[in-house]
Each structure stands twice: as structure tokens, then as C-alpha cells.
């Protein structure tokens, strides 16, 4: 690795961006989750990906190599900042410490998109390092909206909320996930990160049609799409239970759903997530290229006639 390429950037002048204008906005093309083991390959790739996304918590240390690496790629790439641990779906107020750290990253790296999850991970000061599910009730809706309001006001900008993959349901839920999400958007003005793999995982696990979920989903608010691989286990009855494992290529069925979504909604920034059992760079790069092929085809048809692009057309 070329360590000398990781020297610290000079401090920005007041009121100006430290980064090139071309890297400010996330393009409607494919990006990948940034892993340090791919740093050199990403910088050397003659056909660079459209953007990079990082998990915010990995850059909440004071200094050292993680910040050097992120500073370096941020010079060349638009950045999406994806929070994993804000615990927006929990009953307790958000951690002010965590909000402060998050805001510092937004200020420092000027991401084009900021997102978090409809899930929780911390309760009574125990951090469980997983995206845990919540019942969908008036009470949880109020908590989630309070938390999103708080986060958006601290970071001073809109965030995107990601739909979860779940393995259980709650007897006390009183509304559907899509109704819950639509109401969050209405009350908070947040945007949405549509994880198509999560839709497929939850649909399989809970026995509903992924297309009917997507038809009910407020697609006009989607600012980013996630695609990832999943693993297959068995539920208590011996039927398939899909696990959102992020350790494999995107499944064919998820590619098919993705194509349906972007044909209806138009080109949207699309991230390939791969977080464990990391492949060599060319494998991850080819997954992004596959998403770009679908996006290019969609962009082409959007140029040819805008009438194809109305999301109000029924899906499926």
C-alpha cells in the first residue's frame, strides 16, 4: 500500500467545501461499500465506481489509518454515510454522544447521502450489535419520528431511512411496515433507502409477495437502493428462512426485483453491500457493473420517453 498517498488534507477555508464539486452529489449509478482491503484496487481501477458508502461507526475513532483511508477516497469519490447503530427504532432517546459523533463525520466528510435503519440495537446501555426489529404501533411510530426529527435537526439535513429485514413478527403490531414507513416520511420529511434484498428476505420469511410490498411502498421518496447477498436457513417448520448476511453475490430473484423497481422509479443511486467473507475487488466491481447495466438501460428508456417512468404504474 502506498502510505504516502494517505497524507492529511489541509483544513478547509470557512464556508467552502474541501472536496471537488464533482464528488459532492451521489450519481444515479452503482457504488460499493468501502472496505480498507480494497483501498488500492479502488484507487487504481481504470473504471471507477460511481460512489462509496461507509458505515459511520467505523470512522468514529479520533484518528489513525481509518481517517487517512477515508480522506483519500473522499478526494476522488462521492460518499454516502450509512449509520448502523443510532438505534432509531428503540424506545429510549438517541444517545447525544452518538449524535455528536455522527454530526462531526457529516461536517468533516460532506457526504452526498446520509442514512440510518428502521431498527434498534441499544437498550439500557447494552449494545447488541444487530439490527433488531420493532412492533409497528402508534407508540413506536411516535418514538421513531421523534428520533428522526432529532437526528435530522442535529445533522442539519435530510436522512434516508432503510427498511429492515426481519425474522419474526410482533403480535402487538397494528399496521403494516409500508404504512408505518409512509407515515414516518409524512411526519418527518425523511427520505428512504430501499433495500431490495431486505424486501425479498422479509417477504420470503413472512410469506408475502415482494411485489405487493413494493406496490405499497412510497417509491417517490427513495433516494438510494441497497442490494446484497443473503444466506438460506430453515424456520421452525423446515421452510426457507433467509438471513440478511451480506456475504455473497446478490441473488437472481433480487436482481429481478431491482430491475422492476428502477424501471418504474427511474435511475437511483444503488449500493452493493458486501460486509463479510469479502471477495477480491474484481468480484465486487462486477456486481456494481451488473447494477450499472440495468441502470443504463433504464436511463436510456427514460430518455426515450418519460411516460415509462411513472411510478404510479402498477408494479408486476
Amino acid at each position: 500500500m502506498n502510505r504516502t498517498s494517505l497524507s492529511q488534507d489541509p483544513a478547509p477555508a470557512a464556508g467552502t467545501s474541501r472536496f471537488a464539486a464533482r464528488t459532492a452529489r451521489i450519481p444515479a449509478s452503482a457504488g460499493v461499500g468501502f472496505k480498507h482491503s480494497h483501498l488500492e484496487a479502488i484507487l487504481d481501477d481504470p473504471d471507477p465506481v460511481g460512489f462509496l458508502e461507509v458505515h459511520a461507526e467505523n470512522y468514529m475513532g479520533d484518528g489513525g489509518f481509518p481517517h487517512r483511508a477515508l480522506e483519500r477516497v473522499r478526494r476522488d469519490f462521492p460518499l454516502s454515510l450509512h449509520g448502523v447503530c443510532m438505534s432509531i427504532g428503540g424506545p429510549q432517546p438517541l444517545s447525544e454522544d452518538h449524535l455528536t459523533r455522527f454530526k462531526a463525520l457529516v461536517d468533516r466528510y460532506e457526504p452526498g447521502l446520509v442514512s440510518e435503519h428502521l431498527a434498534w440495537s441499544t437498550h439500557d446501555d447494552v449494545f447488541m450489535n444487530d439490527l433488531l426489529p420493532l412492533p409497528y404501533t402508534d407508540e413506536t411510530l411516535a418514538h421513531v419520528c421523534e428520533h428522526i426529527d432529532r437526528m435530522q435537526s442535529v445533522i442539519g439535513r435530510q436522512m434516508l431511512l432503510e427498511n429492515p429485514s426481519t425474522y419474526v413478527v410482533f403480535e402487538n403490531s397494528t399496521m403494516s411496515e409500508t404504512d408505518f414507513i409512509r407515515e414516518i416520511v409524512r411526519r418527518t420529511g425523511c427520505g428512504l433507502l430501499l433495500d431490495v434484498n431486505n424486501v425479498f428476505v422479509s417477504a420470503t420469511n413472512h410469506g408475502f409477495s415482494p411485489l405487493s410490498y413494493l406496490m405499497d411502498y412510497p417509491m417517490e421518496h427513495v433516494g438510494e437502493i441497497h442490494l446484497a447477498g443473503h444466506a438460506v436457513q430453515e424456520d421452525d417448520e423446515g421452510e426457507p428462512l433467509l438471513i440478511d448476511s451480506h456475504d455473497a453475490p446478490v441473488a437472481d430473484a433480487v436482481w429481478d426485483l431491482y430491475a422492476i423497481v428502477v424501471r418504474q422509479a427511474g435511475p437511483i443511486p444503488t449500493l452493493i453491500e458486501w460486509d463479510s467473507d469479502l471477495p477480491d475487488w474484481p468480484v465486487l466491481r462486477s456486481e456494481a457493473a451488473a447494477a450499472d447495466r440495468i441502470l443504463d438501460e433504464v436511463a436510456h428508456s427514460f430518455m426515450m420517453g418519460k411516460s415509462h417512468g411513472k411510478i404510479s404504474h402498477a408494479v408486476g
Binding site: 447494552v126 444487530d130 402487538n172
Partner: protein, 260 residues
């Protein structure tokens, strides 16, 4: 808080309690779709939480895992995760209590050096993420009037940590973090290491005899004169010029301060 607002809290509390205690059943409100059972479904969350935290410990303590073997390590880490789950969402802060847990872990009693290796690995990760501060420059030390040198104190770099051990902790750490096969190590040879990060790379230095007492004194705010005395008391071979060279080469400090 009105009673009606407590349901979400009770749901989350029940979920959390059941996740960390496999003897507990799943929360009452959690079920499968269309009347399906949910024991295996709930266990996905238990498994995600436990395995991801064990993996985080394995990432932080790779030499400990190499010494114990994977099965032993994961069994030990599972007990730790259940007894001491993380309190911060920043997993690079997790595991500060793991070395003490290892020291008390009955099945690791045959490896009395293991806890000290874990201390070095924990210090390594702290150094990796520490703030970017320039180490003390040789000129800054040279500029001090020699008459006042004995009274100088040093401000530690946030990456700096000293691990003193009755065992060959540097040799064991170093061999088990390399990709080479581990040769024969005389574990009973006492060693101390200084962990620092003068640039982007973490530096782990085996200290000559007496330098552990010297750096321990300086890191806890003692003067250079006091540290030199501590070094000389600890080892006949202690050389003050070599020790001052170590202050500069390791980057353990960011400033030298005179008393006036």
C-alpha cells in the same frame, strides 16, 4: 412517563434480556407469521448478536486466538460476551475488560501469559484509532536548558501504553501476529512492551531492562530525573541516553514541559 408509553420499553427490555440469556424464552409478543412458531426465528437474533460480538473480539485479539485455537477462543469469548456485553456502539472500544476476564478464566490457567498478550492487543487497537498528534520532536528536547532537564515532564501521546509482564509477552505477541510458524519461545523471560503510534502505523517495542520502570514513571507524570532513578534502580544496565533515545524513537510523548 405515562403508563401507555412503557409498552415499547417493555418490549425492548424483554427482547434484550432474552437475547443475552439463552435460558430465557423468547418475548411473548414475538411470533412467526401466519401462526408459525418462532423459536428458530428468534434464535437468528441471538446468534447474530453473540456471533458478531465474538467475531469483534476475534478481530481485536488475533494473537490470543492463535495461541488458544479457535474453538477455545470462541467458547471463552462467548462467556465474556454474555457476562460483559458492550455498552458503546463503537466496537473498537469493546474488550477492555477481556484481559482481566482471561486472567480469571479457569480453563486458561495453563496459559498465564495469555492475559498480558491480550493487554498488548487491546492497547494496539486503542493506538490504531488514537488521535493524530505529532510526537515530540528531537529539537524540542534539545532546546531545553540542560540544567532543568531533570525536572522535565512529558505529556503522553494518546496512543501510548505500557504493558509490563512476568512473561515473554513481546515474543509471544510478535510470533503469533506474524504469518510465520511460531518457533520455541521461553515464556518465562519477563518482558515489557511499549505500544505507540508515531505515524499511521502502530509500533510495538520490546523495552530493554529498566526502561519499563523509566516509561512507567514518565507516563504517570514523573520527571525525567525521577524516571532515570527508577530505571537505574530496576536494572544495572540502564542507560539514560538510550532511554531518552527511546522517548523520541517511539513517539510516546507529544510535549516536554518544564516546571516553571
Amino acid at each position: 412517563m405515562p403508563l401507555v408509553s412503557d409498552i415499547h420499553d417493555l418490549d425492548a427490555a424483554g427482547f434484550r434480556a432474552a437475547i443475552l440469556d439463552p435460558a430465557r424464552g423468547r418475548p411473548q409478543t414475538v411470533t412467526g407469521p401466519h401462526g408459525k412458531q418462532a423459536d428458530k426465528r428468534f434464535n437468528v437474533y441471538r446468534n447474530n448478536v453473540t456471533v458478531s460480538l465474538i467475531n469483534a473480539l476475534a478481530d481485536t485479539f488475533p494473537a490470543v486466538q492463535r495461541i488458544t485455537g479457535e474453538t477455545f477462543f470462541r467458547d471463552m469469548a462467548r462467556e465474556f460476551v454474555r457476562a460483559r456485553p458492550p455498552v458503546s456502539p463503537l466496537l473498537f472500544l469493546y474488550g477492555h475488560e477481556f484481559p482481566a476476564f482471561i486472567a480469571d478464566f479457569e480453563h486458561a490457567a495453563q496459559m498465564p501469559y495469555l492475559a498480558d498478550v491480550a493487554r498488548v492487543e487491546r492497547a494496539w487497537l486503542t493506538a490504531y484509532h488514537a488521535a493524530d498528534l505529532e510526537p515530540l520532536a528531537p529539537q524540542a528536547l534539545a532546546a531545553i536548558d540542560p540544567a532543568h532537564l531533570a525536572d522535565v515532564t512529558f505529556r503522553p501521546h494518546p496512543a501510548a501504553a505500557l504493558v509490563r509482564s512476568r512473561f515473554a509477552v513481546f515474543d509471544i505477541f510478535d510470533a503469533n501476529r506474524s504469518h510465520d510458524s511460531v518457533g520455541r519461545i521461553d515464556a518465562a523471560r519477563a518482558q515489557s512492551v511499549l505500544v505507540t503510534r508515531p505515524g499511521t502505523e502502530v509500533m510495538v517495542t520490546a523495552l530493554p531492562d529498566g526502561h519499563d520502570a523509566f516509561f512507567e514513571c514518565l507516563l504517570s507524570g514523573g520527571t525525567l530525573g525521577e524516571a532515570a532513578e527508577a530505571g537505574m534502580a530496576a536494572a544495572e544496565t540502564f542507560d539514560i541516553n538510550e532511554a531518552i533515545g527511546g522517548i523520541l524513537s517511539t513517539g510516546a510523548f507529544i510535549a516536554a514541559e518544564t516546571a516553571q
